[in-house]
């Protein structure tokens, strides 16, 4: 579904990762690990097509990715249902019922998102993935501020997504109980290169 070869990414003008390679096919999950600042977010943003890679290639259809960032992307003055319906319409998907049940949001659906707790808002943000209809989920710290029950809810949503032929790439610190390969980013930390290529010849 996505194949990455010899990928290098940079934050600002500073290269953070080099030589990253992996492939994820349908039904698989890839879990990225690494200390803070190791480039997880940068890598995920690159995969989502928000920033161009420094080098290397990403094979896969960017139109097949759904990206969920650190930030919730939830509009606080809209209700839960309105938030989801908006994204469903943007992605051309009808029906938000599955997403609401999947993340246990039915009881909250007419509540204004601003009145939700941080964890509930996070669930709403993750429920958005289910109305995108995209097969590859790119998740950046999806479990932030979720309680144990909600983490389980999320894990089962991911499992269901994988069973349905989807795939997921996520950066997370906690063990979700999702069977997936773990990719430690530490070995890919960008070393000093002798080539001037990425500094425009300033070195």
């Amino acid at each position: 579904m996505i194949e990455v070869r010899d990928l290098g990414v940079s934050r600002g003008a500073v290269p953070v990762l080099r030589g990253v390679g992996f492939s994820v096919s349908a039904g698989e999950a890839l879990i990225l690990q690494g200390p803070n600042g190791s480039g997880k977010t940068t890598l995920l943003r690159t995969l989502a097509g928000l920033q161009p890679p420094l080098c290397g290639e990403i094979r896969g259809d960017p139109e097949d990715c759904a990206y969920a960032a650190h930030a919730d992307g939830v509009k606080l003055t809209l209700t839960v249902a309105e938030n989801l319906e908006f994204w469903a319409r943007v992605f051309g998907v009808t029906g938000i019922a599955r997403a609401l049940t999947g993340f246990d949001l039915e009881a909250l659906q007419d509540r204004v998102a601003g009145g939700l707790s941080a964890g509930q808002r996070r669930r709403l943000s993750l429920a958005r993935l289910m109305v995108t209809g995209r097969r590859l989920w790119i998740l950046d710290e999806p479990t932030v501020s979720l309680d144990a029950a909600s983490v389980q809810l999320f894990a089962s949503a991911v499992r269901a997504h994988l069973r349905g032929g989807g795939a997921a790439i996520m950066a997370t610190h906690i063990d979700l109980g999702i069977e997936g390969r773990v990719l430690d980013l530490a070995p890919f930390k960008a070393r000093l290169s002798q080539s001037d290529a990425d500094d425009g010849g300033f070195l």
Partner: protein, 243 residues
């Protein structure tokens, strides 16, 4: 030997290091010479009296105010199309020079206008265009200052420069149109270039050449400074990474 070789920062620094001293000297000689010639050795204009001597500052600075923006536009295009860092830095280096040139043109114009038109300021199309140009320079420089990442800043300022150029031209037409609407035909503009007598013209040419040279020197020198600053931050980033 292609001109793009100078887009290599090191090559640029090495070459400018060689040509800068004679250029400094040349611009200094031309400007001092031209101004002294104009100030001491030209007669007064029969209509404008001694104020005609202001022309030796006013016209060259106005010329460079516009050409500096034009050069920034070309440099921005080169950055957008060919991604040569030196080009983006040259645009950045030229902006403050252009700003000062615009300011000189505006101030000398105001000082000149006071005795000639009886007012410091008139919303004459030319003056107004320069005022708008001044605002464009301010915005452009402020945008460079506001962004930390140099490549992002280069991208954003380049596009601002391209869009700004279109709007600057539009403003020029708008202002022309607008002022004719205000006082029908009563133009205060000074079309000196066309009827300047030779006595005034020769020192003026010298001054114009001097200002052009000064602009080139300043831009080359400032681009060199920007390159060094950029190299320094690249070295520091490298040092941080190797820790």
């Amino acid at each position: 030997m292609s001109i793009w070789e100078y887009a290599n920062p090191k090559k640029f620094l090495r070459s400018t290091e060689r040509v800068l001293p004679p250029l400094w000297l040349g611009s200094a000689v031309l400007i001092t010479g031209g101004l002294i010639w104009g100030f001491f050795f030209t007669p007064d204009d029969y209509r404008q009296g001694a104020t005609v001597k202001i022309i030796y500052l006013h016209v060259p600075s106005a010329l460079m105010a516009i050409n500096a923006w034009f050069m920034m536009l070309v440099a921005s295009l080169i950055w957008v199309i060919r991604r040569h860092h030196v080009s983006a830095l040259a645009a950045r280096a030229a902006a403050p020079v252009g700003l000062v040139m615009t300011l000189i043109a505006l101030l000398t114009g105001a000082i000149w206008g006071q005795p000639m038109w009886g007012t410091w300021w008139a919303w004459d199309p030319r003056l107004t265009s320069f005022l708008v140009l001044f605002l464009f320079y301010l915005g452009y420089i402020a945008l460079w200052q506001a962004i930390d990442d140099p490549d992002t800043a280069a991208d954003l300022t380049s596009i601002l420069c391209l869009v700004g150029s279109v709007f600057a031209v539009l403003s020029r037409y708008a202002v022309n149109f607008w002022n004719q609407g205000l006082h029908q035909g009563a133009s205060l503009s000074l079309d000196k270039e066309e009827n300047v007598a030779d006595v005034f013209a020769y020192p003026l040419y010298v001054c114009m050449a001097g200002f052009i040279l000064l602009f080139i020197v300043l831009v080359l020198y400032r681009t060199g400074t920007e390159i060094r600053a950029r190299r320094m931050s690249a070295l520091l980033a490298r040092e941080r990474m190797s820790e």
